[in-house]
């Protein structure tokens, strides 16, 4: 199962790269009668998803073997119960990744919705993986909040379909195809599109974890196995934003960018603002990371609201950089958890760097990156988004962005120093773990490298995706 997973995700990454190359050459790719459709935006999301899936599946081999040893998965290592659990993990993870890839290539907005619902269903039992009381609670919240959110998204999709019902060919299968609707966006019914966008924003915003629909996120991320949490907080977040972006493009072409802008800025700032006190008062490492993800979802939503060439470029760069930084963070948090057997800062007593030099350094670096410290790449994308805000005359947004950003910055630094700069104690030094150190180092290298140098084809792809968003 382990080998099949890694090999499968390896093949998927190759296919994703091939698709990206094809999209770079041809602009858009569409096959099976337009049922599948990919432009630079889809290709970028697919590439990121496939890369994260491969790294996480390599990591999970070592992680789950350790879980088996330490008794986190029941008392009997290699017992029948554990084998069943592992089998479930290694079959639900590909299902989750497959659904995410489907979201990005589906042209039909209804099919896209169905794939998004499939990601929720596939990941519920990954959240309950350890079968603890708390993981059941997390899964229940995740299922119910996600279910309500997705039903709103479906309602929004239905209304968007209605908005296009006067177009020729709307009652055929292609009537809900994004490429068709985008072409005729100006003729869509305006009242319906207004309602549709609000429903879509609430619906897919729930999946992206925008405040105030974010409450499932810290629970699900801290209860799920770490590789799953890494996938949920990067690839799945990208996919939820991807759905939102698709509808944003339709709405802004139909009603102009002003209408969605106000809503997106509102939800984005709210998400950033709500995460500040929770980051400051946080005691648990993985929950801290979850609130940081909520903050970044807010940043990307703000970037989408600002739109324009600058905002869109900032959005796409930020999506790429955040995916790398946050998956690095989750994987190193997994190492920390398994060594200290706790997520609480207080119980680590500042011994992270001493006990686990490699993980400690990577964690330290990725934390600095994720709060936007130069020279790491997230500084550049956040700077671009901020510039887009001030250029567009959204002074209040810019000021609040800086204010909330500073709050998060302070909070994370305080917790980070508490974890790392502790008094000397007798915590045992962790053993090397080849599977996990390998994936962690790959990500860390990518994180450092991309701060200074983005490969030209990747940057072309990001710029192409930004052009899709801004419509230029």
């Amino acid at each position: 199962m382990e080998a099949a997973n890694v090999a499968g995700f390896g093949v998927i990454l190759l296919v994703a790269i091939a698709l990206a190359v094809k999209v770079l050459a041809a602009g858009t790719v569409s096959f099976a009668n337009g049922f599948f459709y990919a432009d630079s935006l889809s290709a970028l999301v697919i590439l990121l998803t496939a890369a994260v899936a491969l790294v996480c599946s390599t990591y999970s081999i070592g992680y789950l073997r350790d879980d088996q040893q330490s008794g986190d998965m029941g008392d009997d290592p290699a017992g029948a119960e554990q084998i069943a659990q592992l089998r479930m993990f290694y079959s639900l993870t590909p299902l989750l990744v497959f659904s995410m890839l489907f979201i990005a290539v589906a042209n039909n907005l209804g099919v896209m919705w169905a794939a998004m619902e499939a990601t929720t269903l596939a990941s519920i039992f990954l959240v309950t993986f350890y079968g603890k009381v708390t993981s059941l609670e997390a899964a229940w919240k995740y299922a119910i909040i996600g279910g309500v959110g997705l039903s709103m998204a479906l309602f929004g999709t239905v209304v968007a379909y209605y908005a296009g019902h006067s177009l020729p060919g709307s009652d055929s299968l292609s009537g809900l195809n994004w490429s068709v609707l985008a072409q005729h966006a100006a003729q869509l019914d305006k009242t319906s599109m207004r309602l549709a966008f609000v429903l879509i924003l609430l619906g897919y915003g729930t999946k992206a974890g925008l405040a105030p629909m974010h409450t499932w996120k810290p629970d699900a991320y801290s209860e799920a196995p770490v590789p799953t949490a890494a996938i949920l907080s990067t690839a799945l977040l990208n996919c939820a934003l991807y759905c939102l972006i698709r509808f944003y493009i339709l709405t802004s072409r139909c009603l102009g960018p002003e209408y969605p802008r106000h809503l997106l800025l509102l939800f984005g700032l709210l998400s950033m603002g709500i995460s500040v006190p929770f980051v400051l008062a946080q005691r648990n490492l993985r929950r801290l990371l979850a609130y940081s993800t909520i903050d970044h979802a807010g940043i990307m939503t703000i970037a989408l609201g600002l739109a324009g060439p600058l905002g869109s470029l900032g959005l796409m760069l930020h999506m790429t950089f955040h995916t790398i930084a946050k998956s690095t963070l989750f994987l190193s948090a997994g190492n920390v958890y398994q060594h200290f057997r706790t997520d609480l800062f207080a119980k680590m007593k500042g011994g992270v760097m001493r006990a686990m030099p490699l993980t400690g350094v990577v964690l330290f670096m990725a934390m600095l990156a994720v709060i936007g410290m130069p020279p790491f790449s997230l500084f550049q994308s956040e700077f671009l988004i901020l510039r887009a805000a001030f250029d567009g005359g959204h002074i209040l947004t810019g000021v609040l962005f800086i204010l909330f950003g500073t709050g998060i910055f302070t909070g994370v630094l305080v917790h980070l120093s508490g974890m790392i700069l502790g008094p000397v104690d007798d915590t045992p030094v962790a053993a090397r773990r080849p599977w996990r150190d390998g994936s962690l180092l790959t990500l860390a290298a990518a994180l450092v490298l991309i701060g200074f140098w983005v490969p030209a084809p990747l940057f072309e792809l990001i710029r192409g995706a930004a052009r899709v968003v801004s419509g230029q």
Binding site: A114, E117, L121, I124, V148, F155, Y161, L173, S192
Partner: protein
């Protein structure tokens, strides 16, 4: 042609309106209902009338693919899901009544208010120049959606929350067929598959919650905070 197309439409509209009214009455009955098993049966009955609305719209609009949606509704929501849930209730030996958070008379008033909201919102979609079926059905659909929401908030037991989520989905289905005479077929298939899987997944989850907590009371799920 025995009847003029106009009369034909009018008859269809009356049938749809009647059925939609029944669906709404059942939804409000669910607000007032206290026993879980009856709750499940009301849901089945509501889904049945929904399927009848779909079939009526398919007949009068000559849209054969809506028959498939109607058939799927009967298969999934009238037969499969209720059987699944009743078994679950039997297996877990639930004898408790539903205890709503807000008492029944006030809940009914709120449900009435939400119905009113549904009618107001549906007005904005009304196009007098486009005669068609299901103008009332849309108002009912939005009301179902809102009352479903309210029911989810108003319930403590896991199973009743899931039932409320499913009635919310019924509202969506009604909106989809009355606004657009059905979505493209493949979308409908996807949606029904998802509903079925979601019901099963949530059923398993409820069972595990029940086993762990010895209760389905979701207000006991309050360990994770901050």
């Amino acid at each position: 042609m025995l009847m003029s197309p106009f009369l034909d439409m009018q008859l269809g509209d009356r049938i749809v309106t009647l059925m939609a009214a029944l669906v709404l009455v059942l939804q409000i009955a669910m607000v007032a209902q206290r026993w879980i098993v009856i709750h499940i049966r009301i849901f089945a009955a509501q889904s049945f009338f929904l399927a009848m609305i779909a079939a009526t719209i398919a007949w009068f609009n000559h849209a054969p693919h809506i028959y498939i949606a109607a058939g799927l509704t009967v298969a999934v929501k009238v037969i499969l899901v209720p059987i699944l849930f009743e078994r679950l209730v039997e297996r877990m030996e639930i004898r408790e009544e539903i205890e709503p958070i807000i008492n029944v008379p006030i809940s009914l008033v709120i449900a009435g208010g939400l119905t009113l909201v549904g009618y107001v919102v549906a007005e904005s979609f009304y196009r007098p120049e486009e005669p068609g079926l299901g103008h009332n059905a849309l108002a009912v659909a939005i009301s179902l959606f809102l009352i479903g929401f309210f029911n989810m908030i108003n319930r403590r037991k896991a199973l009743t929350q899931v039932l409320a989520l499913l009635t919310l989905e019924n509202g969506l289905f009604l909106a989809a067929i009355s606004l657009t005479y059905g979505m493209p077929l493949i979308v409908e298939l996807g949606v029904f598959f998802d509903v079925l899987v979601a019901a099963m997944v949530l059923g398993i989850l409820i069972y595990r919650i029940r086993e762990t907590f010895e209760s389905m009371d979701v207000s006991r799920l309050r360990r994770l905070r901050g």
